[in-house]
């Protein structure tokens, strides 16, 4: 079975679920949800056993689709995050449905499948057309998801902001693609790399196109100064969607960025120096603009949004450190590694947030007051998540940061390094502010919180993953470096 079939099947399942809900409105949401989850699980299983050879793809698709380690990794990644989001949606369904039209949630289960298919395509994209189409599939679906809780003014506002800014970024992206095409005469990454190695190619046009393209992609991954949408949208969107945006959408953006940069920074590229410098500047700016405002946040959800920006900054800095001579992983591999560690910690954070919402609590830091008394398990989970986000050693988050630091020092990017250090120090402050609130301040309400066993199990797995990856990251590294195409490993 080819991987492409799985993706197509997933999209079809999404469509089917939409139709089912449309024609059979009384179908219960747990049926829908569980079907979607089952579909994702099945896709995941199939992905593992599918033929991982590019040659197995249908021949008409092969020029646009590739199956390298990176692609397969991101496909799996997309499936896992979709699975978690679906499950979180199911968990949050009771209170989410209060904010939707007629209390329906069908799209919340079907659209993620389509988004997932889009992300999986994106991971395999070999040219800018595919990138654009897949990216838009994801983005447009997200417009709907973000604004889904229409009765909530915040969700609607988030939807509008995401819509306008997202569309703006799309415009910039396409314009950039146009100029890259104009400069290089091709849409495929391989071709672009080849054309850029040719000194005859117009450097200015290529730089212009690349800059626009990177701005468009920068928007998707929340790079400064294109990050302004992130706090507002993350805060307003329903929690599962925020988690999806924060992990899935960002990962998708980064896989594209990795591919594009592999082309722009390929051996002999005429624009390599400029692009790399741009990445450094943008990355440094992003860690700072993510971390500094985060110190003053009172809403945990918004805080996580800023944290997400800051992490995007670290990822950009990792990408900026090309040819990081001495690790097994290329910068793309490091980004993939970082994202793999970023997934459990972020999802765990949003999971706890969602569970709190499900228990009728708010999302402000003050709502976390006294949590350790009310539910020690929840508090511990949140602590693990935040410790990892802050990048404390023995958690997964530290290894990712360590790679970034290694790369920056190796290249002697001291300015970027100091920005990263300042941001990480500020990170200690805002993450622990929340943790401290959970343990110190007595909440007004001290009644115990109950959470379902299944939630506990999922959260426990995520927490265990954080800790295990923190002390034993080798398996993940092996996955990322057992590469055939030579893209990930050097």
């Amino acid at each position: 079975m080819s991987v492409f079939t799985i993706e197509a099947g997933l999209a079809l399942l999404g469509l089917a679920l939409l139709l089912v809900e449309a024609f059979k409105p009384d179908i219960s949401r747990s049926t829908l949800g569980l079907t979607a989850i089952a579909g994702t699980v099945l896709a995941l299983v199939l992905l593992v056993f599918a033929n991982h050879d590019s040659a197995s793809l249908p021949s008409f698709i092969q020029p646009w689709h590739q199956l390298d380690t990176l692609a397969l990794f991101y496909k799996g990644f997309a499936l896992v995050i979709t699975l978690l989001v679906l499950w979180l949606t199911l968990e949050c369904a009771p209170y989410l449905s209060r904010y939707t039209v007629d209390g329906k949630l069908a799209e919340m289960f079907s659209l993620p499948l389509i988004v997932c298919a889009g992300m999986m395509w994106m991971a395999s994209a070999r040219d800018l057309v595919t990138v654009f189409v897949a990216l838009e599939l994801v983005t447009v679906s997200f417009y709907v998801l973000v604004a889904f809780a229409r009765k909530s003014a915040l969700s609607l506002e988030a939807g509008v902001k995401y819509l306008i800014l997202g569309a703006l970024s799309t415009g910039i992206l396409v314009y950039g693609i146009a100029w890259i095409y104009g400069a290089t005469g091709t849409m495929s990454f391989d071709g672009i790399a080849k054309a850029l190695a040719n000194p005859a190619t117009s450097k200015t046009a290529a730089l212009f196109g690349a800059a626009m393209l990177l701005c468009g992609l920068g928007f998707k991954v929340a790079a400064a100064p294109f990050h302004m949408w992130v706090p507002d949208v993350y805060q307003g969107a329903p929690t599962p969607v925020t988690a999806f945006l924060s992990v899935g959408s960002k990962a998708a953006g980064f896989v594209v960025l990795t591919r594009a940069l592999d082309a722009f920074l390929a051996e002999g590229s005429i624009i390599a120096v400029e692009v790399q410098s741009l990445l450094l500047v943008v990355g440094s700016l992003t860690v700072l603009l993510g971390s500094l405002p985060a110190m003053f946040q009172t809403s945990v959800k918004r805080l996580l949004a800023y944290s997400s920006i800051s992490h995007a900054g670290y990822l950009l800095l990792a990408l900026a450190c090309r040819e990081s001579a001495r690790f097994d992983l290329s910068s793309g591999g490091i980004v993939a590694f970082y994202l793999a560690t970023y997934l459990p910690m972020t999802v765990l954070g949003f999971l706890v947030l969602g569970l709190m919402r499900a228990n009728g609590l708010g999302e402000d830091i003050k709502d976390f007051a006294g949590l350790a008394k009310r539910n020690p398990t929840l508090a511990l989970l949140m602590t693990i998540s935040f410790a990892s986000l802050a990048g404390l050693p023995l958690t997964a988050g530290f290894i990712g940061k360590l790679f970034v630091f290694l790369g920056l020092v190796d290249h002697g990017y001291w300015g970027a390094l100091s920005c990263a250090v300042i941001a990480a120090a500020a990170g200690f402050y805002y993450y622990f502010k929340t943790v401290l609130a959970m343990y110190t301040t007595e909440g007004t309400d001290t009644s115990a919180l109950t959470i379902s066993t299944a939630s506990k199990a999922v959260a426990g797995v995520l927490a265990a993953l954080i800790l295990i990856l923190g002390v034993y990251p080798k398996p993940l590294q092996q996955v990322l470096s057992s590469d055939q195409a030579g893209v990930v490993a050097k």
């Binding site: 001495r326 404390l392 290694l406 250090v421 002390v471």
Partner: protein
């Protein structure tokens, strides 16, 4: 499986067990006692050996190669001994406190043990951080001051130490990259050492890296001017945390300098500008903080500031960089750890009983609490550097070690610093005796009333005081563990 792994794991497992519902006091006391015995036996087994022993390595990442590697030599065993001793005392003296006191003490101690016994730079660093978190939490949660103030104190410590450890991380990363030769990145200390011996770095570069490491490690040890977190943190921290952090965990930075920076960058500290900078900073510790300590009028302030001040002497040993001075620094680390833990333990007890530590409100306690007084005297005179207690041996070795290379018979900055540092010894006598006079001497009827602790509650302090006396009278017991050159 190495016995060291067991030593590291035991406290952490005990903490986990308590969290899952095991009886806190029994579990933590049991684990700590067993650990003390284990460390003691291991130390005895090590006696006479040189180099690393009890090694074990489990790779966790390939390239950059990280591994959970443990191993012990004299220096790490001395510090492990210190850790387990202070842990036992700190846990023993906890009375009627919630389980989190035990858990945090176990975590701090376990983290410190991990940091001292690991031989992979990654884990050395990681275990230290593990131990820091409960420290912050405990200051913020159960500190002495009112909620706002103790939180402010905890924040200050968190940000300072957080920033410091990030600088440190940058320095360590730099170090690893410089020594990893081109092909394979490794964090293994032994491999790095081998590489450093094979191809030493250019001296100027050694100086630069050393300086970054000095800033990183230094701010963890409250090196002037990166010290202002320490005094309030110790004055505010709950007793076991103050004992463990000031006594044990703070030694990590010094351990790191001796264990990582000095062997890999042997010329680093001798680069002129680095040494001058270090000398200036440590003079700040000794003279400025000495005067600040003299100004203190509460016991907890005095102890907290004195603990910052005394770090200057250990840094002096590092600045001197000679064999004798470095070994002296290790001895002084041990000595200071035991003495300050003893003092903080007693100070905590006084605060519980009396409610205040201001000298103006105290006096004449020697009459009511003679045993307590004797125990306190051990700590106080140890920190004054009285011969017969361990601190003296360390200090005198550091001073002498600064003069072992007096070849040109010319006084360098180092030597002048030693003279000024010696004046610091006078200052520490001033404030310690002032404290002793204020609390224990004087008319017994004017001060607040306090009795001796029950015999069972004296045990932890007796343990520490005995350690000071035994290793103070027989410092060769510790020195014999450090037969190999540092």
């Amino acid at each position: 499986m190495s016995v060291l792994e067991l030593i590291i794991a035991l406290p952490l497992l005990a903490a986990l067990a308590i969290w899952l519902g095991a009886p806190a006091r029994a579990a933590s006391m049991g684990a700590t006692l067993i650990n003390l015995i284990l460390v003691f036996v291991t130390t005895i087994q090590y006696a006479g050996k040189t180099g690393l022993a009890f090694t074990q390595s489990r790779p966790i990442l390939d390239n950059p190669s990280l591994s959970f590697a443990v191993g012990a030599d004299g220096v790490s065993l001395i510090l492990a001994l210190l850790t387990t001793l202070v842990m036992l005392a700190a846990i023993w003296q906890i009375q009627d406190r919630p389980a989190i006191f035990y858990i945090s003490s176990l975590l701090i101690g376990g983290g410190a043990l991990g940091a001292f016994l690991a031989t992979d730079v990654f884990f050395i660093y990681a275990f230290h951080e593990l131990a820091l978190i409960p420290t912050f939490l405990m200051i913020a949660l159960h500190g002495r001051a009112d909620a706002a103030q103790r939180k402010a104190v905890a924040w200050k410590a968190t940000i300072y130490l957080g920033a410091g450890s990030l600088v440190l991380l940058a320095g360590l990363v730099w170090l690893v990259l410089e020594f990893s030769g081109g092909s394979k990145l490794t964090f293994d200390l032994e491999a790095l050492r081998a590489q450093a011996a094979l191809t030493p770095l250019p001296i100027a570069k050694q100086g630069q890296i050393f300086f970054v490491l000095l800033l990183g490690f230094g701010s963890l040890v409250s090196l002037f001017p990166f010290h202002s977190w320490a005094a309030p943190a110790y004055a505010t921290a709950p007793t076991p945390v103050a004992m463990l952090h000031s006594g044990v965990l703070k030694k990590f930075g010094l351990y790191g300098l001796i264990r990582i920076a000095m062997p890999l960058l042997p010329q680093g500290v001798h680069v002129e500008w680095v040494q001058n900078a270090l000398l200036l900073m440590l003079l700040g510790n000794i003279l400025v903080m000495g005067l600040v300590t003299i100004h203190a009028n509460r016991l907890d302030d005095t102890l907290a500031n004195s603990s910052v001040m005394h770090m200057g002497y250990i840094f002096l040993g590092i600045a001197a960089g000679s064999e004798v001075a470095l070994k002296g620094a290790v001895i002084l680390m041990f000595a200071h750890g035991v003495s300050i833990a003893l003092l903080f333990g007693l100070c905590g007890r006084m605060r519980n009983q009396l409610g205040t530590l201001e000298y103006s409100k105290l006096g004449g306690l020697a009459t009511h609490a003679p045993a307590f007084t004797v125990l306190f005297a051990f700590g106080a005179f140890a920190s004054i550097g009285l011969p017969g207690l361990t601190n003296f041996a360390g200090e005198v070795m550091i001073f002498a070690g600064s003069f072992t290379n007096f070849k040109a018979a010319a006084l360098s900055n180092l030597h002048w610093t030693v003279f000024l540092a010696l004046w610091g010894v006078v200052m520490s006598a001033v404030y310690m005796l002032r404290a002793y006079r204020g609390i224990f001497h004087g008319n017994a009827t004017t001060g607040l009333f306090m009795t001796d602790p029950a015999v069972s509650q004296r045990v932890p302090f007796i343990l520490l005081a005995t350690t000071l006396l035994v290793t103070g009278c027989c410092p060769w017991l510790l020195l014999n563990l450090m037969k190999s050159a540092l």
